[in-house]
């Protein structure tokens, strides 16, 4: 009965490989939470109940040539698709952190603007709340995505941490 025994051995090896991946992933998950600010509550890293669960705040700004930097409310039927994309980006950004970028959001907003404003620069600001490990006070990390008014939108990114000292 060599054949069934070999099959059983192959199953054990298969299961062992699965368990090895299962064991290694949480360490990768931790690195992602530190480097990409992914959510410890999701993505099966077993880091639930390690940090408070904050939903990022996402704000969209338009640089009006006369009025300057103005925050866009994304209200009204013309912004329906932009608002849907905003919700999708918030949901994905909460979990995947800086692994997702708001390029699609910027595109939808630009498409929804009046024709005369479509070449205005746009700015998407993502605010991520956290509790500072040293001071145990609420702090916020800010990511700014800048979209210039060019045929091919270019994204510049600034990251800034507001410590809670």
């Amino acid at each position: 009965m060599t054949e069934p025994t070999n099959r059983v051995r192959r199953r054990r090896r298969r299961v062992a490989v699965l368990l090895l991946l299962f064991t290694a992933w949480p360490l990768v998950h931790y690195q992602w939470t530190q480097h990409y600010r992914t959510s410890p509550w999701k993505l099966f890293g077993w880091a639930m109940y390690t940090k408070p669960r904050y939903v990022p705040t996402v704000e969209v700004y338009r640089y009006d040539p006369e009025l300057g930097r103005r925050r866009l409310a994304l209200a009204g039927p013309e912004f329906a698709r932009a608002e849907a994309e905003w919700r999708r980006f918030v949901e994905w950004s909460e979990v995947l952190g800086t692994l997702v970028v708001p390029d699609a959001l910027a595109q939808e907003v630009r498409s929804a603007l009046p024709r005369r404003s479509r070449r205005d620069p746009l700015e998407v600001v993502v605010l991520r709340f956290r509790v500072d490990r040293t001071t145990a006070k609420v702090a916020v990390d800010r990511e700014t995505y800048f979209y210039e008014a060019k045929p091919r939108a270019r994204r510049g990114v600034e990251e800034e941490q507001a410590g809670a000292g």
């Binding site: 099959r7 090896r13 299961v15 999701k42 099966f44 390690t50 940090k51 995947l96 509790v131 001071t135």
Partner: protein, 331 residues
Amino acid sequence: MRTKPRPEPLQVNALQRIDDAIAAVLGVFRSVPPGGEGQAAAAGSVLAMERDRCRIFERILLLHLAVRMGTMAYPDPVPGSLEAWGLGLAATAALALGFWPPARRAALALAFVLLCGLLWTTFPQTSNHGFLELWCVLLLLASGVGTSGAGAGAPGEAEALALQAIRASLAIVLFYTGVQKVLHGTYFGGDFLAIEVAMKPEFAKVFGWLASPEEIARIEALDPSVVGAGPFRTDAPLFLLASNLVYAFELVAPLLLVWPRTRRWAVLAVLAFTASIQSGAREFFFGALLVNGMLLYWPRNLHARVWPVFALFYVGLLFQRVFAPDALVAR
């Protein structure tokens, strides 16, 4: 006449060593006969117990999936509710198939496909226990549970392998919940528990007695949505002790589960620990999944005795969602 080339001795030895290492590691998670290691229990009786236990574990898991997916169709229609209804019905079909021995593997395969679909549609917000459900079904399939014919191996062998893998997975999950708390560093000063007390009244009820009323009032008065609010930290001795015991327990419990002499106590301790957390978190589906898995560590086949409790629990949850959906939120 030689029909295939004989492998080189070095290759055979390396594979043999790998197989021996795998068997040794998985063997740590094998079922322990009643009375412990020293008792002479026939291997066949252990395999028979594992076969029976696995069958009940599977059916409870399929019932869990049917109720969880079914309750997503209630009580209010949401966008995509047609899919939610389809999912619930298909999961119920998988449960029904699971009671028919020739279709056992097909039931698991259907459950696997449904769970992959659920993962696809809910990603990235998929719950961790949703992944754990998928993982258990995957391990059952990968171990060959439900396979018939010459490739099945000795009766109960596939089930024993599956249960060893599921036990190992639960120990890994429990251990990593502790490791992650240490790595993130939010339990040494009671930071996380303090924030939860400030954010959630139900946590304040569970953990509020660990510090003075004045300290609890100070923490509850902090607004976690305001930059600069804090510190979310306390020097109340009981609060700090409880906070540090949480990850210490999660790091030690898997070792106690693995060691045969302490296995029963470890199961009871893990279940009590989970109940205390879930009294605040109210994640009923996760709690039920964990209990179903933890009972696999019990030396005897406890599943054979407690499955009616699981059945009542899930039917109760279904009735609650249908007739009294506002009574509680089951997650």
